[in-house]
Assembly symmetry: C2
Homo-oligomer: 382 residues x 2
């Protein structure tokens, strides 16, 4: 089987690496950026950090602060309008996956005709999009290095995928000093999302020797750093490990696909606007149990990757201990164990099951799941 | 400290993935390729495999088969002339590092004024070079994903570096079926070169959390696949592991630098035209011993990465066992244990030591080495 791997472009890392942004803008031929961000980033004082770097270099910028979580088509189209009116030539995304995804879509709409609806699915753009410099402020989605964006279709209550090689941001800036004020719950949700990206991309039937090494690197970093980082978000070494972990996982899954956890989490987000990481956390061990026998050898590799010694244990035993260890991680994060309190009612399930059965992520899941198995997985968390 | 990581572009992998080349050429806007290769590739029947794919799709190509190992400026400039005369629009490099490096330099000369001499060192090109599709036929240099090329300065008997972000090939094609006829000695030399890339980039003081994961992935793949592959070069699964390992190591070292092994191997190649992998193999354990105490913790990580259980061993003990294991690998490869039989005379050493002391690779070595230490390392292998 022939596979294609698309690498990230430039990744700039290190404490205070946002100071490299004015120069990086110049490298990319930009001088008048639109900053795509959200209200939370402004309140946390993170935007101020970026602005002081730009002011110091006398860069003229404007801010589009209207991104919301699970951004809708309309917000992206409004962002494009602001971009065109301001005659900007480069985009700086500052935030989580929502801001970065919004900037990607603004970038493609600014150089190509049509609206978001015209670009759903796998796309090759006629014109190269506006360059995006992506600065993640959470260690979660990996969107700073993926060639995809999620846009929420409000009409149908669905998250829709836009995917194409031209969507990879031209630069990703991983600056751990920007994560200092992250609330513990956000650390848990985004961290478990990144961990799940690593796990599912490794177990994916479309993983390759390249993506597998990236996935394992990501899993190892996140598994050991997540709880300590939650307890010490001001520790930039831990923040850096988490940022690198989610970035590596991003490079892996954008090339190798994900699996059943993400296939099931997507309609939960679309229908109930649940935090994506919460859905991932709840589904994580349930799906790992279902997939266990279809990927025993890989489970044993994961077990050793997390730092456990095999000591002659069988693959089966390693797999069980792996699931135990991951269950322990989720418990330590203090994530609720059911979606009931979030208003997820079993009545909505049939429609969600239909959606999952058509998901591309499900085709990469190590075990082929049928309708009953998907239904039963939903029931296990609702 | 702020670091920059440059990702590879597209990596196409899998058995018979060279069949994707006509389409990939189109993606890159090319239709009339110059194939850069060498006589050995033609004799081994590998060029024929590529040509039959091109013929099938009625692609008109020409062949520049004059690449030699450690290619000199003149060959690269001749290649540029052939490229211009043939009005080609894309380069296909088929071979080891020499062919891929030559294609990179032809590509930059074809769109920028001047000769090879004008582009030595770190460069930003005025014009983007001609796109290169790189098809490695050995698992060694990783040149298919690096942003550098080595050119031999015959006048001064030196290998010179050309390095810049625009030199990364647009596509790398890792097709394990092309490695079937590799002679065992070539497998040993190129494999140990790739292994050394993984090791030195991991130990480099300029490694990052991203490059370290790539290095470890490479080391693991190569350590376990090299000997079996040497014994069964027709086994495409092993060939694939080796190709992926050398590719991952390439991505790592092009971003993280190397160390003393490569710093010392370079003048040995320039002065005596020794196979680069031979120099690496001989220097490997000697340098590992010298660096041991400067990177104990990393040695322990390497020990576990190779699949050994710590079982409570100290870092020191792990480091010693690591060196033993790597020494065992080199011995199993049947590589000569001294350079004496190759005509390396101690008289040339002072000049080589001077060269090494100015090498950028030496600055990334975990232990800072002085003149006496470099001299003593040369003496240990001559």
């Amino acid at each position: 089987m022939v596979n294609e791997f698309l690498g990230p472009r430039k990744i700039i890392t290190g404490e205070n690496s946002i100071r490299a942004i004015p120069n990086e803008m110049k490298n990319l031929g930009g001088s008048h950026p639109l900053i795509v961000t959200d209200d939370g980033i402004i309140k946390a004082g993170i935007l101020k950090q970026l602005i002081s770097v730009l002011d110091e270099q006398k860069v003229e910028y404007k801010i589009f602060p209207e991104v919301e979580s699970d951004p809708e088509f309309a917000i992206m189209e409004k962002g494009k309008k602001v971009f065109m009116e301001g005659q900007h030539d480069i985009l700086i995304a500052l935030g989580g996956g929502s801001s970065i995804d919004t900037a990607k879509v603004i970038g493609l709409l600014a150089t190509n005709e049509g609206t978001v609806k015209d670009y759903l699915g796998i796309i090759i753009l006629k014109n190269d999009p506006i360059p995006v410099i992506a600065i993640p402020t959470t260690a979660g989605t990996g969107s700073e290095v993926t060639h995809m964006a999620m846009a929420t279709d409000k009409e149908n209550n669905l998250k829709r995928l836009i995917k194409g090689p031209q969507l990879i941001p031209k630069s990703a800036v991983l600056d751990p000093t920007l994560l200092k004020s992250l609330p513990p719950l956000t650390i848990s949700y985004t961290g478990i999302d990144a961990f799940t990206h690593g796990l599912e991309s490794f177990l994916s039937t479309r993983s390759t020797l390249i993506t597998q090494q990236l996935s394992l690197g990501a899993i190892k970093l996140i598994y050991h750093a997540l709880i300590p980082f939650k307890e010490n978000p001001k520790d930039t070494e831990l923040a850096s490990k988490m940022l690198h972990g989610s970035c590596l996982a991003g490079i892996a899954f954008t090339n190798a696909e994900l699996g059943a956890i993400h296939a099931l989490a997507s309609p939960l987000a679309g229908q109930y606007h649940l935090p994506h990481g919460l859905s991932c956390a709840l589904l994580l061990c349930n799906v790992l149990k279902v997939n266990r026998d279809a990927a025993l050898e890989k489970y044993a590799i994961l077990f050793e990757t997390l730092g456990f010694s095999r000591n002659g244990l069988s693959d089966q035993k390693c797999a069980d201990k792996l699931i135990e260890a991951i269950d322990g991680l989720v418990r330590k994060l203090g994530i609720p164990s059911s979606l009931k309190s979030f208003g997820v009612k079993p009545q909505a399930l049939p429609q969600m099951v239909e959606y999952v059965l058509k998901s591309p992520a499900l085709t990469a899941n190590p075990k082929k799941l049928n309708r009953e198995e998907v239904e039963s997985l939903f029931n296990s968390v609702c």
